[in-house]
Symmetry: C2
Subunit: 330 residues, 2 copies
């Protein structure tokens, strides 16, 4: 029996979240809904222009790991922080959520990664990430026993931005497959897809990754088409299971000839979309690794995503298991 | 014409906020609604038991300064951080809120102060503060020009917990009075009142402080009585203006024979009471320094307090001036 339900691998990032208005995005050349990589100098500049902020642990795959644990699943995380205050905060938050997190922190520079997230009044976010210590993540950081012992290993496409991130994933996928486990990924961001389109397609078509999460913008970017239907058809052929989130329109799961349409949950107020995709993946993966139907997996994903977008930050403060039980999903 | 409306002096603290249940308070000996001072070892212990948290700039007088600025008032703050990451965050948040904050940070240890705030489902908070760099604040840190140039200098009773905090306040009060300005304070916390009762009474009775903020527990502690009415009568005699907040029951302002009763604003959901008193003071002080009636000052205080308790953290994310305008108060 595998010990872990989900092993997540990704950039370990502390989010610095503040509101801004539309004009601020314009003035500072920020891209709505997207993640932009920035260097230390631009990080300082943007921070100096940022409103008072809150700091909260984030990172796409890290958010998913925290979500899986909140559902009551056994989750592990691999990601690189530095031995600084933000690194301590990150480690604390991960472990206290019940996620196994044992990646060795860097002793010195670069510092723990941070992402400045600007949230406009419509709840959309623009992320500006200084990768810091994340660029040091390598294959030696992935514990073989965790890759062997996880039902699903899930990683973020963002890792391709780190120098040796893809090496870490190749080794992990090899270990996981050797143990008969599944490997899953998120396409992360349409601009990220644009940077690594061919490599991502190879991951899918070679069967390295069998369960793929994306939003509609990302699959359109992957297949360079403006047609959602066209992109979905191509996506269906390339993955064993493909999961596409569509914001307020819910999600679509494709698996061979099967198509499952999942509704978004009703929300009272959209506050901050940060973490929506990550938490959808958490719900889905929790359901998937506990043997539920694709429809049920999607509903669990929608529930978690619906909760996280009604608060600031990418990790829901509710206990997701309790919420799912109250909603009659568990 | 004084340049600043309000100069706030207090402990510069980053809040680390997480939810907990009632049993957690019991198990860890935490006092609901109060602030407990802890040493570095207990800080580590409590942090190790704390759920995933968010970090946000806080500190009582610091929150008030941020609130005054958010109303559009000219605010300055004096408080001690260290040259570390939390100190950078604190400084950033203060300046970006438009507060003049120029206190020289410590070069080394102790580190920037932090307060672990546990919030129970009823929205009440238990604060556990490691004072760190705050204990180094001394009279040399208060810029004379700011004390001269502020209509009101406002400080927190908590400063009596720092080694030379009271020296800093004595010097500032002297400077402020020399320039014909007013000095104001908050009693901070009923346990704090218990520690410094005689000194606080002397501050009031000597006229060092003329405008005093407190909640009902604090004035009862000050006069060691269980009767609110008895405490209020004594308080009325000891201050020029006394302002007493009573949670959901609103507030009472006493000034000579005058008594002004102010209602609390209606709220949708009580999330976290942290900062309620600080923001009430911000609204009141903004109104007071712009020449409004005591009733109007109280209404501005209620508005700001009502907003901050509907979110996590002690500094409202709304623009308070806009909110007050929409509520017809400005």
């Amino acid at each position: 029996m595998p010990y872990y339900d989900v092993l997540c691998i990704g950039n370990a990032i502390v989010d610095i979240v503040a509101p801004c208005d539309e004009a601020f995005l314009e003035t500072n050349g920020l891209i709505k809904g997207a993640m932009d990589l920035i260097d230390a100098r631009r990080a300082d500049l943007l921070y100096s222009r940022m409103s008072p902020a809150i700091e909260v642990s984030g990172g796409s795959a890290g958010n998913t790991a925290a979500g899986v644990a909140s559902f009551g699943g056994r989750a592990a995380f691999v990601g690189k922080v530095s031995s600084d205050r933000l690194g301590e905060i990150y480690t604390h938050d991960m472990r206290e959520q019940g996620v196994a997190f044992d990646t060795k922190p860097l002793k010195n520079e670069p510092r723990t990664a941070r992402s400045m997230i600007f949230v406009t009044p419509d709840g959309e976010r623009s992320m500006n990430t200084y990768l810091g210590a994340c660029v040091e993540l390598g294959p030696e950081d992935v514990e073989a026993d965790k890759a062997y012992e996880a039902k699903v290993t899930y990683f973020e496409g963002y890792l391709w931005d780190a120098t040796r991130g893809k090496e870490a994933i190749r080794r992990t996928a090899m270990l996981a497959h050797a143990a008969g486990r599944e490997v899953s990924m998120t396409l992360s961001d349409s601009l990220c897809v644009d940077r690594y389109r061919e490599e991502f397609l190879t991951l899918l078509r070679s069967g390295t990754v069998s369960l793929v999460f994306a939003n509609s913008g990302e699959i359109k970017s992957l297949y360079q088409t403006v047609s959602f239907e066209e992109a979905l058809d191509a996506f269906r052929k390339d993955c064993n299971i493909g999961v596409v989130t569509r914001s307020g329109r819910g999600s679509v799961i494709v698996c061979g000839n099967e198509t499952v349409v999942v509704r978004a949950t009703n929300i009272e107020e959209l506050v901050d979309t940060t973490g929506a995709g990550d938490l959808y993946a958490a719900g889905f993966l929790y359901g998937y690794t506990s043997g539920r139907s694709l429809k049920d997996c999607g509903d669990l994903g929608s529930l978690a995503a619906g909760l996280v977008i009604q608060q600031i930050g990418a990790r829901p403060r509710q206990n997701l298991r309790r919420e799912a039980e109250q909603a009659g999903l568990l």
